[in-house]
Symmetry: C2
Subunit: 359 residues, 2 copies
């Protein structure tokens, strides 16, 4: 350790990324990526890009892409800011709204990056346990207000359960919470369209709500690092004009993000297939004795049948070049989080699990 | 203003980027970009890139590129971390080593981003004025230590003067300073090779030195947002493992950075031409009565002849579609910072200035 590190940094642990195998043949169902590649129009945009244009700084606020995103959501440019993926969006919200010594709130369990970012800011993390069915307790807003949470983060659909909190509940929390509410919609693209979940009215009604979106999952661009925040212009402004790095989104990401968001037909077809495969996978796991709560995300949280050890199954799958995610925490240690893959990947996973648990 | 902003954020001003004109015919000598495009091998690497590879997360620490950079500098992988351009490198150094309420030190004048980043961290900025010839006062290390600066940043070659501080002076400062010394070498590629300036020995000898490098200027990739930090492995480690965003360098940047650093012959030829043109531009400005201190960067800081108003000349050049940089501060308000362009751009600039000042 360096003597120069701040004490809070020296004392903390960093974020553990999911494993990124180097072998191409590995079936990678551990980090919730979209199983399909990005649109051919994204590849075309890349082939059209001249690196001579990289000589100069990018447009600092990615306005062309902001406008396309604003139009997509029926909001204005001032409601939108582009970020270097969701990670930057979360960091900026904490930097801008949470004092060192202040409080960041969320549910338990939730995204394991939140406590890491909280420690970097030297803030305290306060959580409230989710109900057994992964729904948010009625007392959540009150609890966060009592803790003086300057920022509260909710992942919806929730990770790692896939549980979708209804919009009316989110609205009620936003109304009854004293600080900023950030709704991390990293997995929202995989929600069944019949549910008609849309935060647009909430964003127009409330000045304390931020919505985080990412191109990583829905648009198959995890390797590009592109995301955005939606919110009241006064809430967006300090992050856009003060706390973000001056040129936070590179010129290639701006061009590729535009191509991706404009090809809605392609992206939506990948989401439809993922939903279809989610059902297939859930049915197959249930038939083998696993229990999977309803998921509106691109993953399932499978509780083991009584005789199966989750960590053991995780290791056995890994030995067969199939990666899923195991969390060694009290509430999750009898479960595995499994990303929905292609039909072929899911069949291989099911066949392998069947083989492993019946021998 | 939102009621939810932290008071330090609400009170501060953001960073002002140099103007980015939308008209392609503008001669842009205001933000110190390389006048030549990136290597053809960078374009080839882009054309080889399959966006299907963007489906998954990038290698989190960009190890292939780290190894190439380590080899380039004769250091080890552990001495290197890639960043989302120099901006992220500076932010991480402050986040990791400067407490809220602590002190960040630099010279006056210096890079105008430092006070912005300092305010975001709620730290105090302490500066010491440079000598009339832009050299660093002998009392600098002592002054920074008295201020308890946890991090001190020096731009070398200095911006906006182009003055190069000799390595022996940097070494003496590193030895006599109590905190971390970050040497921001954004413009180092344009230093005359006969000077043989290399921080490798300093990095091996000192555990409190960070060196910042960027692909923005030397490798003509300002639009890509790629840079790196060099330093003692114990100094690099907390930034690499804890405070940086989990996937801070996207997959395309990793591929293009590798192509750029491997084509040293091309990059070095652009640096040679820039040095040659720097001399041509300096001679022509001097002949018209401007005074330019020796610059080892890709820009000149030209002091106006007595009868010429710097802001007026800046505006007059802008009206003729030539952008240079004017800083309205006491010490710089009779000067313009002019990026060295191509021979054609420099000739156009000189002819236009001649026309403007002799009419």
């Amino acid at each position: 350790m360096s003597q120069f590190e701040r004490p809070n940094i020296a004392a903390m642990q960093g974020y553990s990324s999911g494993e990124q195998p180097l072998e191409k043949e590995t079936i990678k169902l551990n980090t919730n990526e979209n199983p399909f590649p990005a649109s051919a129009k994204v590849q075309a945009a890349l082939m059209d890009f001249a690196t001579a244009d990289l000589r100069v700084y990018p447009q600092p606020t990615a306005d062309k892409l902001r406008d396309a995103i604003a139009a997509h959501h029926g909001l204005t440019r001032d409601h939108v800011m582009l970020t270097h993926a969701g990670d930057e969006a979360l960091r900026l919200a904490i930097t801008t709204f949470v004092e060192p010594g202040g409080t960041l709130g969320t549910t338990d369990p939730s995204y394991s990056l939140y406590p890491v970012l909280s420690k970097i800011q030297d803030a305290t993390m306060q959580t409230l346990a989710l109900e057994d069915d992964w729904s948010i307790p009625n007392t959540f807003a009150q609890a966060m207000t009592q803790h003086n949470a300057q920022l509260t983060c909710l992942v919806n659909p929730h990770a790692p359960s896939g549980h979708l909190t209804p919009l009316a509940t989110i609205e009620a929390i936003a109304e009854n919470i004293s600080g900023v509410l950030l709704v991390d919609e990293a997995y929202i693209d995989f929600v069944d369209p019949s549910i008609a979940y849309s935060t647009k009215d909430l964003l127009n009604a409330r000045d304390n709500v931020l919505v985080l979106r990412t191109f990583s999952k829905g648009y198959s661009l995890a390797g590009l690092r592109l995301g955005y925040l939606l919110g009241d212009p006064e809430l967006i402004k300090p992050m856009l004009e003060k706390t973000r790095d001056s040129y936070n989104v590179d010129a290639i990401s701006q061009a590729l993000g535009l191509a991706a968001i404009e090809d809605q037909a392609y992206a939506q077809e990948t989401w439809r297939v993922v939903r279809e495969q989610r059902q297939v996978l859930s049915d197959a796991l249930s038939a083998m004795g696993f229990s999977c709560p309803a998921s509106e995300a691109n993953f399932l949280l499978a509780t083991m049948p009584e005789e199966i050890d989750a960590e053991g199954l995780y290791e056995a799958l890994k030995a067969k070049s199939i990666l899923v995610r195991y969390f060694p925490t009290p509430r999750l240690k009898d479960k595995l989080r499994i990303t929905v893959g292609t039909a072929e990947q899911n069949e291989k996973l099911i066949a392998t699990i069947r083989q492993l648990i019946t021998r």
